[in-house]
Symmetry: C2
């Protein structure tokens, strides 16, 4: 397999691609490395390859002409990839795919940029090795060449495969130990010295699950998990971000469809669905707020039915869900209750189905923003009944969360659906 490396710094690759297993693979003909020096194709006295961008801005760009000549000099280019932070993330799956090719051309841009028209002239795929910025594509290209080449049959020697099963399953790898059995008082886990392959396999799987839940919970949703895996994961300690999240359903002051300030009735089903979300996601609490006395009485009667009355006997799960529901006159009552419980004043985020188009409105809060708050303090997330929270509530919050379905014109979810989705986005299964 041939890699054609197009760069203004071909010298960069000398030592990383000229040593170890890579140099053996080149010697045996398994890998061909073809360094294409863009500067050799530059014209003029100074052999200049870069120029300033149109429209201003820092940095220099690689000019088209030498790049085009460099690419045209390659007889068999195969797939053309350019390393760029604008690219799609490079993954092990893509490494496997590329390992089936005969030729791959890698363009190392300078990360300040390349003249965009190159992408009109050639079928260039942009790939990124990560969400960080380098001086040029060369260091990323070394990673890509190494990740692909090691998957070629024969690269690693006959005993070993380059594609570890543990990585393929979407979990982090389990820990390894080698001799001596004891070092500085630290011993190798007994199971690994037992010779019992069933126990060793099970232990390694559990270690992978433990490491993944601790360090990369973000990959669990796509990992292939058996029932045994899940039963094991359930027994592990984990972050419970949800404990810092409190939700409030505000029945007054909210707006009606004409934008007028109104009060909305408390309903059994809103309380039900939200209480079940609050309990299932392990939230700190759920508040229903209304200043109207007979509405409060209605709410308390509903809660009583499900907590201690006939509802609790028929359905003990509901009693548990309703245990954390409280009814207060207003949001301030909820705030005082959170302060009393946690010793901290919560941060407030409002929710809305509409973009905030008021003058001087701040950009909407992202779920990432609210999640970072949750790591440090209680957060009260306020939902409105009717047609949404009144201005006087919105203006007291630390921000408004970006609406769900913000790219669509039609966004008419029930408050029950919106609560479920927003809570899930903030403190999904693994958090």
């Amino acid at each position: 397999m041939n890699f054609h490396l197009v760069s203004i710094f071909p010298h960069f690759f000398e030592s990383p691609l000229g040593s170890g297993l890579m140099s053996k693979a080149v010697d045996t003909g398994l890998v061909g490395l073809d360094f294409v020096d863009v500067r050799q194709f530059a014209g003029g006295v100074y052999k200049s390859v870069d120029d300033r961008p149109f429209g201003g801005g820092p940095g220099m760009l690689l000019k088209l002409d030498p790049m085009v000549k460099a690419l045209d000099s390659i007889p068999s280019r195969g797939r053309i990839l350019m390393l760029s932070p604008r690219g799609k993330p490079f993954t092990q799956a893509q490494a496997r795919e590329l390992a089936l090719e005969d030729d791959v051309t890698l363009i190392c841009g300078r990360y300040e940029g390349i003249d965009e028209r190159l992408l009109d002239l050639y079928p260039v795929e942009l790939v990124s090795v990560g969400d960080f910025v380098l001086n040029g594509g060369e260091a990323a290209a070394v990673c890509l060449v190494e990740a692909v080449a090691r998957l070629l049959p024969g690269f690693m020697g006959h005993e070993e495969s380059g594609d570890e099963e543990s990585f393929s399953a979407g979990l982090l790898e389990y820990p390894h130990y080698t001799r001596p059995e004891e070092f500085d008082g630290l011993t190798v886990p007994e199971v690994l010295r037992s010779g019992d392959h069933g126990r060793i396999t099970a232990w390694r799987r559990e270690q992978s699950l433990t490491a993944t839940l601790r360090d990369r919970p973000d990959v669990l949703p796509t990992a292939r998990l058996t029932v045994e895996d899940i039963d094991f994961l359930r027994r592990l300690p984990r972050t419970r971000l949800g404990r810092n999240l409190y939700i409030a359903l505000c029945h007054y002051p909210v707006t009606n469809k004409f934008g007028e300030k109104v009060a909305v009735s408390v309903t059994n089903l809103d309380l039900h669905d939200m209480a079940r979300v609050a309990r299932s996601y392990g939230l700190g609490g759920f508040y229903a707020t209304t200043p109207i006395e007979d509405q409060k009485a209605l709410a308390e009667r509903l809660l009583g039915h499900w907590r201690e009355g006939a509802g609790a006997q028929a359905n003990p799960d509901r009693a548990e869900a309703f245990a954390k529901v409280k009814v207060f006159d207003d949001i301030e009552g909820a705030v005082l209750d959170i302060e009393a419980q946690t010793g901290q004043r919560p941060r407030f985020a409002a929710t809305s189905a509409r973009l905030d188009r008021r003058k001087q409105a701040q950009p909407a809060l992202t779920f990432g923003d609210v999640r970072s708050w949750l790591a440090n303090s209680p957060v009260l997330l306020i939902f409105g009944t009717g047609h949404g929270l009144a201005e006087e509530v919105l203006s007291k919050t630390d921000g408004i969360v970006r609406p769900l379905r913000y790219l669509d014109d039609y966004n008419h979810l029930s408050v029950r659906s919106a609560v479920a989705i927003i809570v899930d986005r903030l403190v999904a299964d693994e958090y």
Copy 2:
């Protein structure tokens, strides 16, 4: 700032860290590079640094003793990082943080592994440059050193900053152009030659938004977006995975809490909430299934009220939501309807609040699995009322989606909440 690079292949770094801006930074004293050759600390005749893992498996591990001696030889280690696919993802934010340090020690493991006890002996942070596998940490270390060093004041020269604003905002960078104005019939966009900085800034922002929606929609949820950004994004074409997704609410055969097969009544609110989810997420359709004639009549009466009756006049949004709801006897009726509309037989996924503990049960489907189906064919996602779908429905599907809250014992969401969350996970805002 000093980088201490601990490796068994220090020669690897020679050319990448010995050329260009990096070599200038070393010459001026801005960056200090300290190569620590682990092999020099190995004992025995063969200076061996590796050994086989306890418990079996492919590959060799780095032994503890030379690694410990190598680390102890560094007078001022600062933070110790090890490059590993088991690590947390390395990001630009972490690069900024590391650029404030005086000393950073980077351990380049061989990726087959390192003796885990090293992590007990030193406060080692594991970092990963991406979800791919390398032969060793060296190529990743080059990326990390370059990403950090270029943020040091003075590294890039006085004119430029290493930290592009466009990347910090969480969007992909806009395209760049340089001279000539015309190349092979391709011209530089007029706006960039206009000298109008307001227009140039707006154009670049729009180009960043366009590229991000097309290639990295996954970063939009955490990007800081203004109302103007969102209005622009709304006008762009995008993938509509939701069109291939159909949901069905099954009222028979389902189970009651004793596991018996029963029929459950159609309710106004289930239809309401699910119709609004289906319309808001642009789904292909929503089916309610019941074989009971008076239940079908009830459902049709409800639909009529909201589609054409008093409900439609009071609330036209609801009429739109209910437009795609259909009532059929059973799931097979829904399937035939989807086939008639799309010419393709849908794939089926069932949902359940419980883990599938039947013998020979397959691992649960992940949301990634179902999303990959959606790219190629219609998918019918089946929800049960009561205590969940009966066995005879489950056994006909292509799989059961992993339960929401699978790590918790308490998982009693309403079907309305579960539908909202599952649809959101499959075809969230940007898809």
